[in-house]
Amino acid sequence: MALGGGYFKTTYASDLALVDTRLRRVALAALVAALLVLPRLTSSFVLDLAAQVALAAIGALALNVLTGLAGQISLGHAGFICAGAFTTAALVEYGVRSPWAALAGAAAVGAALGLMVGIPSLRLRGLYLALGTLAMHHVVLYVASELQSRWGANTGYSIPPPRVGALTLRGTVTWYYVLTGLAALTLCFAANLQRSRAGRAWMAIRDREIAAASVGIDVARYKVLAFVCSSMVTSVAGALFAFQRGFVSVEAFGFLVTVEYIAMIIIGGLGSALGAVLGAAFVTLLPYVIDALVAGLKLQAGAEYYLFPAKFGAFGLLMALFLVFEPQGLVGIWRRVRNWFLLWPFRYRPLRSTS
């Protein structure tokens, strides 16, 4: 077990452990208990928000694995979500309604797309890779819009709520539990990836690809693996999105969605699973916070019209501010606060990393 606030570790096992000090274990147990009990304490509006945050967190965690851990820039995130959602819709269209089939199908399609984008990543790097993913995003959206018009669903395609065994998943409380549970699962998965062999390989590739190759890491394999893993999880998130909303439409998957997810991992803190979750919460809740602020200010009646572009702009502004002033994101702030408490009365100024 680690001592000294988590810094002093005496065994290899404790270095690897995800939750190491007693305080952390207690805090985690308390959090889990709070999440379980939440539906009894709050309104369904809050639960719906929580469910949205959970779903966003799944997507953000997947993107974090690709961009934060492995350092591969992807501008096609919305395309993967769209692919998962439309796979679900396609399965429903052709008579298959089982959620398991939908999840499996979405995962397969996501993996295939990830493979298609991953292979060019071996030749392309940085900006050029980002552009390839952006192009793929547009192609996926085109295919989706073709399907949508072919099914005659010009405003969107509706999906009936899924049945798991005898239980039909509908209603805020059910979806809250399902999504929060799956988000927790994804968080464990992502956090575990970070300390696994693949995670270390990805971080090596992210930091210095040539050096990683020269110590024997199979760069090609791990890059493709990063894309495939990330896109699989993202597609599954898309399928969940389709089931929860009960409705899919191409308009919901524009480039702005990709920007939102990138904002989540940047605002949260690049490379950190906790950061992805914090960022997802921040970005998802931001429009509601702005709504509340505006309602509190009691502006005139016509003000709602200005709200949409203002929300639009505010979130972009915040992302820019974080990029310039707080590159380590919310996790950076959290760590500074935590360090201040842990190290008091000493002050430790860590080296700023050169990257």
């Binding site: 100024r349 080296l351 700023r352 050169t354």
Partner: protein, 263 residues
């Protein structure tokens, strides 16, 4: 007579924690040709960067001391301002614009207020090879030609003091000799003062009047050319000219033999 360029007790720290050079004081007088010698990692390039203002790019800063050029403190001035005042650096790497032709390279600069009379005609007079290769893309020049192009462009910036970083790096001895000769001619005929940072001490001391030796971020010895050439440690470790025959133990190695300097 006041020197053109002087460093007074300069200390440079990287990333706020690692001291690269400490208590470095040196002077470049009018029409002087000063050599700064040292092995890899001694801090020579950091010194040059501190003079020409490039520390910010590497998250380093001058934390004490000052750099004085023409009587003015230039700590932390922006690099292009320092260049325009007549303090021009010929860097060690990335010294030419590789996608531009030789002709375009010679025009890709803003001449400073340093001194008069250094126009294209006069400069190309020293580098006839470049005149022949005007239309060639600079990326395809040989090492020696590149070095000449770098020197020529530096001259076109009208320097009062030229800072040359590792002129001899990667060049054949005969090319090094001709380049060093060229530098001495530039000083003699154009009156430009030169600070020559070199690992190749022999080549540098062949033309310099005065020299400084740096080790581990400090100046450990300075003197005129004759004193340096005669100094035992310099001869042994920088010029490779033999040593005493009776050295057998590690304590005979220079760190332990040098007298302690208390200031």
């Amino acid at each position: 007579m006041t020197p053109l360029l002087a460093l007074e007790n300069v200390e440079v720290v990287y990333h706020r924690v690692a001291t690269a050079i400490q208590s470095v004081s040196l002077q470049v007088p009018e029409r002087g040709l000063v050599a700064l010698l040292g092995t890899n990692g001694a801090g020579k390039t950091t010194t040059l960067r501190a003079i020409s203002g490039f520390l910010g790019a590497d998250d380093a800063a001058i934390v004490s001391g000052r750099v004085v050029f023409l009587g003015e403190t230039i700590n932390g001035r922006r690099p292009h301002e320092t260049a325009r005042r007549g303090l021009v650096l010929v860097p060690e790497r990335d010294k030419v614009f590789e996608t531009l032709t030789v002709q375009e390279n010679l025009r890709a600069l803003v001449p400073g207020r340093g001194r008069e009379g250094l126009d294209m005609e006069r400069v190309l007079h020293y580098f006839p090879v470049l005149a022949d290769r005007r239309r060639q893309v600079a990326g395809y020049l040989s090492g020696g030609e590149r070095q000449m192009l770098a020197l020529a462009t530096a001259l076109l910036c009208r320097p009062r003091v030229l800072l040359v970083d590792e002129l001899s790096l990667g060049l054949a001895p005969i090319v090094v000799e001709s380049l060093m000769d060229l530098v001495r001619r530039l000083r003699d005929e154009l009156g430009i003062a030169v600070l020559l940072v070199e690992q190749n001490a022999g080549a540098a001391l062949a033309i310099a009047d005065h020299g400084y030796v740096m080790e581990h971020g400090r100046i450990v010895y300075e003197g005129s050319r004759e004193r340096l050439l005669a100094h035992e440690d310099v001869r042994e470790f920088y010029l490779g000219l033999g040593g005493s025959a009776d050295r057998r133990r590690y304590t005979d190695v220079k760190q332990y033999r040098r007298r302690r300097r208390w200031f």
